[in-house]
Structure formats: C-alpha cells, structure tokens
C-alpha cells in the first residue's frame, strides 16, 4: 500500500483509538489482509453492459416469435396447472410410481448396474428422475440435509420431494447433493421370484450441475469439470 494510503488508514483509526492500539490494529488486522474489490472471474469484458443488453433484446425477439405463445409465470401460477393437488399429497400414492421407476432404471442400466463407472454415469445423466427414491445428503443449508422421500416434480432449479411424514418439500438444487437408490436383483438372474433383492445401486447427483429442466436434460452433453467447491 502506498504511504499516503497507509497514513490515511492510520488517521482514520486514530480518530477512535489510542496510538498504541492504532499500531496494533493496523499491523495485525489491516496490513496483510487482502481486500477483494471485485470478483476476478468471469473477466469484466464478458459482462459489459452492451453485450448484456444485446443478448436480452435477442432473447425477447426469439420468445415473441413462438406460436402458440407460452403462458407467462403469473398465468401459470394462477391456473395452478402444474401443482400437486391436495389429495395427491400422500406418500402412499407415489409408492407404485417408485416401483415403476426402479423397473425403468434397471431397464436402461442393464448390466451397468452391477459395474457402475462412466458408462452408468453417461446413462444416468440423461435419465428421468420422477418417482425416484431420494435423500438429501449434503447441502450448504443445514436445514435441507436429511430430507428423504420420492421425487414428485423435477423442475429447473428445485426438486419437489414428498416425504413420509411432512408432506411435499421443495428443495433447491443449488449447493445440494441428492442420493438416489435403485434396488437391483441378485446378479444370478431371477431364479426364485420370492428372493429378496440383495444389492442396492446408489448414486449421488450434484444439484449445482443439474440446473436444467428434466425434459431438456435428455439431449444435453455433460462435460467433466474440475469442481473447486467440493
């Protein structure tokens, strides 16, 4: 820091503290602390106001061209088309859906369910999660950890989960990790129909990376990134 800057800081401190305290506070708490003024990534050029305005204009134009015009958020909320009805908010109603989902998962994974690995991961990335048995395992917000149940809606930023005792919970995907389980039959094939499932296939889904609508996820290619915050 330049001398003038140093003097200015000390002067400010001296208005409230004795000279000894000024020296102590400056040398311990201010002198070697870095001051972050502006986030360093993404670089400022990408965020210039002009490019932002242009992008916005183009998006509005593209939206106007759609026929029939999609409902606005206000209209959707008022019509309540996508909400889960009150009578439907019972855990028992969704258990058959859960069984269907397990069957679907076993079908698309095939032999990968026993080996796991990148093949299974590629299939899972475009799989559908409605009806999955899920538990929130890790989250930046401590209140969300431990919520377990069946997925009722998989929206763009939020996962709606119906729990056994507490009704429908809306869990934001940001900063949250979900753990999904699939019951897999014993690898020897189904000799006796009454044999209990001996293995469970468990996988974690990182919510930060999954902030896409489930319909759009089918065609999306996921690249491998280095995740600093994990």
């Amino acid at each position: 820091m330049s001398n003038a800057g140093q003097q200015a800081t000390r002067g400010l401190l001296a208005r409230a503290h004795s000279p000894d305290s000024v020296n102590r506070i400056y040398s311990e708490k201010i002198q070697y602390r870095t001051l972050h003024l502006r986030p360093s990534s993404p670089p400022p050029a990408a965020q210039s106001a002009r490019t932002a305005r242009r992008k916005k204009r183009q998006q509005e134009k593209a939206k106007k061209k759609q026929r029939p015009a999609p409902l606005s958020a206000r209209e959707r909320r008022r019509l309540g088309l996508h909400d889960v009805p009150r009578e439907g908010q019972k855990y028992e109603t969704y258990e058959p859906l859960c069984k269907l989902w397990m069957g679907y998962m076993r079908e698309i994974l095939g032999r990968d369910i026993y080996t796991g690995g990148p093949n299974a991961a590629a299939t899972l990335a475009s799989a559908e999660f409605h009806g999955a048995r899920v538990e929130v395992v890790r989250s930046r917000c401590p209140g969300r950890v431990g919520i377990a149940g069946i997925v009722v809606r998989d929206r763009k930023f939020v996962m709606e989960i119906i729990t056994r005792k507490r009704g429908v919970k809306m869990v934001p995907k940001e900063g949250t990790t979900f753990r999904l389980t699939v019951e897999a039959p014993a690898p020897g094939g189904e000799e006796t129909s009454g044999a209990p499932d001996s293995k469970t296939f468990v996988f974690d889904v990182l919510g930060d990376q999954l902030m896409v609508r489930s319909a759009d996820r089918a065609n999306r290619k996921f690249k491998g990134h280095f995740l600093k915050n994990l």
């Binding site: 602390r33 972050h36 401590p142 431990g146």
Partner: protein
C-alpha cells in the same frame, strides 16, 4: 489452476500483566468471581501445571489428578448411561483427538459440546454452526464450529434438535476416536458407564521436585513503581521476572548460582545483584487437568505457604495451533506482601 492457500493473519500472542490484591481465601468455599480466580477458571483444558517456591517444598494434600483415555464414537457419548450419568447429572471434561484447524475435533466442557469441522463434514452433517478461522476467504474452504448445550432440557431423545445431532453422529461423525476423559464431580456413578469402553487410566503424579540453588532475585515489584502507577517500569520489572521464572521452569543452567558461560553464547543476567544463593524448589504435573483442581491447588498454596515466602504457579492449556503454544497463566505471590499477586495471562489467538 492454482488453488490459493487459506489466508492466515498471524497475530502474535499477547501477554496481560495484572498486579492486584487477593482477599482472604476460605478453603471450604473457594472464591470464584474475583481475579485471579476468575481468570484461572477461564482456561479450558490444562496440560501442564508447575509451581515453584522458596526453600522446602510444601506437602500438598490434594489428590493427584487422574484421567482416562478411551476410544469411543460420538454416538456412544450421546446415548445410554454415559449420557445420563456423566453429561446430564455429572460434570466431566472430554477432549477428542485431532487438531482444530486441520481435522474434526470435539470437546466437551461444562456440558457444552463443541465440534470443529471442516467444510465437507459440516455440509453433510446438517447442523447449524458458525464459521471458524481467519476471515476474508472468498470462495475458499472455511472451517465451521458447531456447539450444543447438552445440559439444556431440550436435549433429550425424541426432541428435534437432539435427533438431528444423533442423526449426524450416526451417518457422518461415526468414526471411533480417542478421547481424554476427566471426571470433575466428586463421586463416580455405580456401575461406571465408562468401563464398558475399556478406558486406560493415567494419574499424573507430581513430577520430580527439583531443588535448585540459584542466585537470589527479589521477587517483588518496587513499591515506588506501584505508588506512582508507572506503567513502563512495571512492564520492565514484570518481563524480567517472567523471564527468570520461565528459565527456572525449564531448569536452565543459566539461572544457577555460580554459572559462568561465555558471553558469546549467552549474555543473560538475572535481575538484581548476583551474590549469594537462594534455594528454589519446583514441582510439576502433566496430563489432562481440570481448572477446578488447579483452583484447589492455588487455594492450598495461598493458605499453607508461610506469609513471608513467595511462590509462583503456572498453568498451560493444550496447544491448539501449529506453533504448539497454548494459553497460559502465571501467578506469583511476592515475598513480603502475602495478600498481593502479580499475574501474567498469555493468550494466543487462533
């Protein structure tokens, strides 16, 4: 892609010097609120404890402190007889293995369970806590502190807050750790819930009572300094005295009478003039000691030591940082003034 090292603003340990007077000490009802007693109780887990005095050493009747080392998981601490007998009804002190700035560490003191967790464990545990460590990390990995008052009536099985803690201890914090355990309450419950976990008992017997002959030093603060309230002078006298006492504690050859060392190696001179001899005796304890025991020791010293003799007491906490320096308290009762004391508190921040 370079990952930044976590910021650490080094703050030097601070030493606070106090000169005060002690009132009459009643051994049945030990004082709590006044200094130096309140500062003594403010220490956490004491690791080492030393006292020195002039001439013959006092037979101290306090029973030597005993502690156990036991391997338990957090879940076992929170359930069953151990929880009801020791935590809810009794008074214990527990310290787990680990360093609080590197891995997960737990402490239990006066019924308050404090957990020092790293970011991933905290996010998986789902317990509410506060950030811990140097401020000013943007996007880097902070550490977290979570604390629970286990003696409050809401900490029972079946209540939501406690159930979340138990869930976390079953799923996330479920590794067995080595703990140090010290029972402060006078009685142990029958049958002892601790014995199920096969503890190893340790008793810290008083260390070798060293008797040293040293060159005499006046253990007192000149009355002119006190009368005038001369701070720089008090600082000098107090620093010299603290240095001399630390050298005695380390059993350094420099303080012995008749020590001749090449001035190229050491130019230390004890404060005061150096003719004659003085006999000093040093007794030490090392282990997992509670502040109540130290308080009892101090009361015994104050009441049993002859009024004209001086004594000094030093208690050090467990080290929490990489430099291996913990908080420390040193107390000296000067010769000639039997109701006054000079105290140094050394506090090192995180």
């Amino acid at each position: 892609m370079l990952l930044k090292a976590p910021p650490s603003v080094y703050q030097a340990p601070k030493c606070f010097v106090t000169y005060g007077s002690m009132g009459h000490t009643d051994t049945k009802q030990l004082p709590r609120r006044s200094k130096p007693w309140s500062t003594l109780m403010g220490l956490g887990f004491i690791h080492r404890e030393i006292y020195e005095m002039l001439r013959h050493h006092l037979v101290v009747e306090n029973p030597p402190p005993s502690y156990y080392r036991v391997t338990m998981s957090l879940e076992q601490v929170l359930q069953g007889d151990f929880f009801t007998e020791y935590i809810k009804r009794g008074n214990i002190l527990m310290l787990s293995e680990g360093t609080d700035s590197v891995d997960n560490m737990f402490t239990l003191r006066e019924g308050v369970l404090t957990m020092y967790l790293d970011k991933e464990t905290y996010e998986r545990a789902g317990l509410v806590g506060k950030p811990h460590g140097a401020k000013g990390n943007r996007g880097l990995k902070p550490r977290w502190v979570v604390s629970y008052d286990l003696r409050s009536p809401s900490m029972l099985r079946g209540k939501k807050g406690f159930d979340r803690l138990v869930y976390a201890s079953k799923k996330v914090l479920n590794q067995p750790l080595a703990w140090l355990f010290c029972n402060i309450a006078e009685s142990t419950p029958h049958p002892d819930p601790l014995q199920q976990h096969y503890p190893a008992k340790f008793t810290s017997s008083p260390g070798v009572a060293e008797v040293l002959e040293v060159s005499p030093v006046a253990i007192s603060v000149p009355s002119s300094t006190l009368a005038e309230g001369d701070r720089p002078d008090l600082e000098m006298v107090a620093s010299d005295l603290y240095e001399w006492l630390s050298l005695i504690r380390l059993e350094s050859p420099r303080v012995r009478a008749g020590d001749h060392v090449d001035p190229y190696l050491s130019r230390y001179r004890a404060p005061g003039d150096a003719s004659g001899q003085m006999v000093v005796c040093r007794v030490s304890w090392q282990g997992f000691i509670s502040t109540q025991w130290v308080r009892g020791l101090l009361a015994a010293l104050v009441t049993k030591c002859p009024p004209q003799a001086w004594f000094s007491l030093n208690a050090t906490e467990f080290a929490k940082n990489i430099y291996a320096t913990g908080n420390e308290i040193s107390l000296v009762r000067p010769q000639g003034a039997s109701d006054e004391y000079l105290m140094w508190e050394i506090k090192s921040t995180e």
